[in-house]
């Protein structure tokens, strides 16, 4: 009795499997005017709005319509890694130039001089690192020096995978160099003590934000300025305070076209227009609205600009001699981070 039934079932399963496999491959290969923006963690909300505005503007002017701009988000270093491994990104919008450099060097999909192809070091917006503390600042954290006090728990992601964390690390380092007059031993001692106060290292900025805000771990969160403002907006200003340290670092998150991918897909014009859009007054206004510092503040709503506190910002070129050098000295295998970070027991 069961013979024909089971026979048929197996048959149907095989046919269904084969059919869906073919269908999947065909669907994957179908050409569409779609862009893929591979970005870092905190830009989710920013690019959701940028994408909608850009698609509307592009489609009003061009016959070849853009249907969707797809987003992929994660820790900046991890995202670079997936693009090196073959993720078909049209544009990279990562947290730091070092990660785009890594893609350029290892995949050869974009030229090594990519950063000079767009204005202002290919960074349409900047940001900096601030402290997010619990309401009322119970541990009285005012500046970088307070972070190494015993009993202060610091939340920061892992500099090996997160761009934001590398900015955190370098900002702390820059502060220490200034505070200890470039006494190398004291700088290292300071950074080691700071790292000893970190209970967990998340892989990306957003994971670290969730650790601090939703899971309630830690006293102070070293955060992208935009991420700190977003946390205030999401959870209400009665939960957290932003503390602006005496000195911080000018973070320039860069954007770049992945030449080999756009040429293969035939999307170069769209990708170029997409990145150019970020520099337009409309793009700059959206950028400021999402708490990134626009390059052109006049284009933005003055109310948004008033949010940004005045901070003494050092640049990576002045203090560390550029990303390539900072990356090798501090975050490469056996760099200062590897030397100074000792996971708690």
């Amino acid at each position: 009795m069961p013979r024909p039934l089971i026979h048929r079932l197996v048959h149907a399963g095989l046919v269904l499997g084969a059919f869906s496999l073919c269908f999947g491959i065909v669907a994957g290969a179908r050409a569409q005017t779609e862009l893929l923006n591979v970005s870092y963690d905190p830009t989710r909300e920013l690019y959701r709005e940028i994408n909608a505005a850009f698609i509307a503007e592009w489609n009003a002017k061009n016959a070849k319509k853009i249907t969707t701009i797809r987003q992929s988000h994660g820790g900046s270093g991890a995202q670079a890694r997936t693009v090196i491994d073959g993720l078909n990104a049209d544009v990279l919008t990562l947290a730091l130039a070092g990660d785009v450099d890594a893609v350029a060097q290892r995949s050869k999909k974009l030229p090594e001089n990519w950063q000079s192809r767009l204005p202002q070091n290919s960074s349409p917006y900047t940001s900096t690192i601030v402290f997010l503390v619990r309401k009322g600042n119970p541990k009285a954290i005012k500046d970088w020096g307070d972070l190494v006090k015993p009993g202060v728990q610091i939340i920061t992601p892992n500099p090996k995978t997160s761009g934001g964390a590398r900015w955190n690390y370098l900002a702390a380092w820059a502060y220490a160099e200034k505070a200890f007059n470039k006494d190398d031993a004291k700088v290292r001692d300071y950074v080691a003590k700071l790292l000893a106060n970190v209970p967990v290292l998340d892989t990306g900025a957003r994971g670290a934000t969730t650790t601090f805000t939703q899971r309630g771990i830690g006293d102070v969160f070293l955060s992208w300025e935009n991420e700190a403002f977003l946390a205030l907006k999401e959870f209400g200003p009665d939960k957290f305070d932003i503390v602006v340290p005496s000195l911080s670092i000018l973070a320039e998150p860069p954007v770049a076209i992945v030449d080999a991918n756009v040429d293969a897909k035939g999307t170069r014009a769209e990708a170029q227009a997409y990145l150019d859009f970020l520099y337009t007054p409309k793009g700059q206004a959206i950028i400021a609205k999402h708490f990134y510092r626009p390059r052109n503040p006049e284009a933005a709503d003055p109310k948004d600009i008033a949010n940004f506190p005045k901070v003494d910002l050092v640049t990576i070129d002045a203090v560390f001699g550029g990303w390539a050098k900072a990356q090798a000295t501090h975050f490469g295998d056996g760099g200062t981070f590897d030397q100074l970070y000792k996971p708690a027991r």
Partner: protein, 302 residues
């Protein structure tokens, strides 16, 4: 593999009472107070660590009301995640059924060199961390991987596309069907098949009329478990997905993304679908055991 000869569901399915000549109390010799304490502790544990988290999922999912819930699961990225998850399972599960049945059949009914090696290989996905399962495919098929240049030259996308997701899922869920079938088939033995062969049945006929029907319940369990894991897999899939929303984002990955975007209610709404799937799986299993318990036990006693 010592457990290969012990059918896993025997404890639940076999009619045990006959094997219990004395009352349990006198054998164990524990006082009723200790028994009660032990039972309370186990029950509290089950409640606290299994039932409560499950309830939390549904409570959180409903935090924004029915309309919020519907919005979360009908939003285009969520729909595409659900479709992708179902598609991946629809490919991976039938594949694993065919290969799992073939492997179990070979192992249970025949003696050959390298049999133990084959059994170990089938168990490999259980013992390897899912992250590694994903990474090996990146190493093989990624742009910098061994086959990367060849694939790129021929315009074949595997990693960060559907085929990669399917491969990773097949790898992770491979043991479920075979692991269910092997002990059962071994316990049944080959006498039925031998009888059918001496009566002149063709090997295919023997397989479809004797071998498969004999193990249909184990096969069904295997498929249920395999399917549940295929839809729920996170680690391996996260590595090969590339996390492109609306394209290579499966339901478990979508849950994480939503949660990270401060949309907990939406995250738990999608999570509740996954949890619902688990409940349906359990309910189906319980229903079968209740309705066909005798048949299952009989087929296992053989």
């Amino acid at each position: 593999m010592s457990d290969a000869t012990l059918p896993r569901h025997d404890a639940a399915a076999a009619p045990a009472p006959a094997a219990k000549p004395q009352s349990a109390r006198s054998v164990v010799g524990e006082s009723p107070i200790i028994q009660a304490a032990l039972i309370t502790v186990s029950l509290a544990f089950l409640l606290l660590f299994l039932l409560l988290p499950l309830i939390t999922v549904f409570v959180e999912a409903g935090a924004r009301g029915w309309s919020g819930y519907r919005e979360a699961i009908t939003e285009p990225d969520a729909v595409s995640a659900i479709r992708l998850t179902l598609l991946v399972a629809a490919i991976a599960v039938p594949f694993n059924v065919v290969v799992g049945v073939a492997a179990a059949w070979a192992i249970a009914k025949f003696e050959f060199r390298g049999k133990n090696l084959l059994i170990s290989l089938i168990d490999l996905p259980f013992s390897v961390s899912p992250v590694i399962s994903g990474l090996v495919y990146v190493l093989l098929f990624g742009a910098q991987g061994y086959l990367g240049p060849f694939l790129r030259a021929n315009g074949i996308e595997i990693i960060f596309a559907l085929p990669g997701l399917v491969l990773a899922t097949i790898f992770v869920t491979f043991p479920f069907v075979a692991r269910e079938l092997i002990p059962h088939m071994q316990a049944i033995g080959s006498t039925d098949e031998e009888a059918a062969l001496t009566l002149g049945a063709s090997p295919w006929r023997v397989f479809f009329s004797i071998t498969l029907p004999n193990v249909k319940w184990s096969l069904f369990y295997g498929v249920l478990l395999c399917n549940a894991r295929a839809m729920g897999e996170f680690g391996a899939v996260a590595v090969v997905s590339g996390k492109i929303r609306g394209l290579t984002n499966t339901m478990p990955l979508h849950v994480e993304i939503l949660y990270n975007e401060y949309m907990s209610a939406a995250a738990f709404a999608v999570a509740s679908l996954l949890a619902g799937l688990a409940l349906v799986t359990l309910a189906l299993k319980a229903l079968l055991e209740w309705r066909y318990g005798d048949a299952i036990a009989a087929s296992r006693r053989h």
